[in-house]
């Protein structure tokens, strides 16, 4: 795990990351039955969310508070806000032209 952007947050980051990674490994491989119906999916997701909150929630809150403070102190919150307003990440990128969807391609527009 890489460093945190603020040295004082690194121990919390390391602790949080290792908790998350253990949870994530299971999250990535839901039992086949969990995907059998929308209800089973919802129940499974709820169970995983609860498990995450219980195991990693406390350290996440501490780590998040530490990073949020560091982000503010470095003035990065302004940069993040600007970036979100200018080019929201939620918006899907425009589709590439059909000729560019080949196996590997590069072009100039």
């Amino acid at each position: 795990m890489a460093q945190s952007l603020s040295a004082e947050c690194t121990p919390l980051k390391v602790e949080y990351d290792s908790c998350f990674n253990a949870w994530f490994e299971g999250y990535l491989e839901p039992a086949v039955a969990a995907a059998s119906s929308p209800d089973a999916r919802t129940a499974y997701s709820k169970r995983k969310a609860d498990e995450y909150d219980q195991k990693c929630g406390p350290v996440w809150e501490k780590y998040k508070a530490c990073v949020q403070k560091a982000v503010k102190d470095k003035g990065l919150d302004v940069l993040l806000q600007q970036a979100r307003e200018e080019h929201p990440l939620t918006e899907p990128p425009p589709l590439p032209p059909p000729s560019a969807s080949a196996h590997s391609s590069a072009k100039t527009a």
């Binding site: 795990m1 890489a2 460093q3 945190s4 952007l5 947050c9 980051k13 949080y16 998350f20 990674n21 994530f24 490994e25 999250y27 990535l28 491989e29 839901p30 969990a34 995907a35 999916r41 919802t42 499974y44 997701s45 995983k48 969310a49 995450y52 996440w60 780590y63 998040k64 990073v67 949020q68 982000v71 990065l76 940069l79 993040l80 970036a83 080019h87 990440l89 939620t90 990128p93 590439p96 032209p97 560019a100 969807s101 080949a102 196996h103 590997s104 391609s105 590069a106 072009k107 100039t108 527009a109």
Partner: protein, 173 residues
């Protein structure tokens, strides 16, 4: 604007490739990554996991670049990802937050499981420069060359993580 796309097939199933992708920092192929933090993470009502990470990367300026334009060759990068464990898809979008007038690089990566149980990675990049001074094209070309080289290194990093995960799973607990 320069556009680039490339597909790559991993022999491993989707859950392990996705795990390796999220664990890829640090690795010896990513020495340029100074820091990496999760700034938000939520599980959506449909059961997907949405994560925003803030990454600081060290960059190198090309020799021909005008001196004194950039005080430090580091760049903040934001990465937003969505993981769907049921549909077996990871979507990840990345772009730099600073030095955007000189060059903006937007990358989108998707991992999904194919019918043979292997994992297809599809990467797209869009590189823009608004620099002017007759250097726009040169900067965009440089960005593209660097992007391709970095993509290769990034894949080597993921492959290394994959082999480490495989090894650790073979060991008895």
């Amino acid at each position: 604007m320069k556009f680039f796309s490339q597909s790559f097939l991993y022999d491993d199933p989707w859950p392990i490739v996705s795990l390796a992708y999220f664990l890829r920092y640090p690795n010896p192929y990513a020495a340029h990554v100074i820091s990496c933090d999760v700034i938000s993470r939520t599980q959506t009502s449909s059961g997907t996991l949405v994560t925003t990470r803030l990454i600081l990367k060290r960059g190198n300026l090309p020799r021909w670049f005008p001196q004194g334009m950039v005080s430090r060759a580091e760049s903040w990068v934001i990465e937003e990802s969505e993981v769907d464990p049921f549909g077996k898809v990871v979507n990840c979008r990345t772009r730099n937050l600073d030095h955007v007038k000189i060059m903006r690089v937007e990358e989108s990566v998707q991992f999904h499981q194919n019918p043979e149980g292997k994992t297809l990675q599809h990467t797209e990049a869009r590189i823009f420069s608004g620099f002017g001074w007759g250097l726009t094209k040169k900067i965009e070309n440089h960005g593209l060359t660097r992007f391709k080289a970095n993509l290769q290194r990034s894949r080597e990093g993921v492959s290394l993580m994959l082999s480490l995960i495989r090894q650790s799973r073979l060991q008895p607990m």
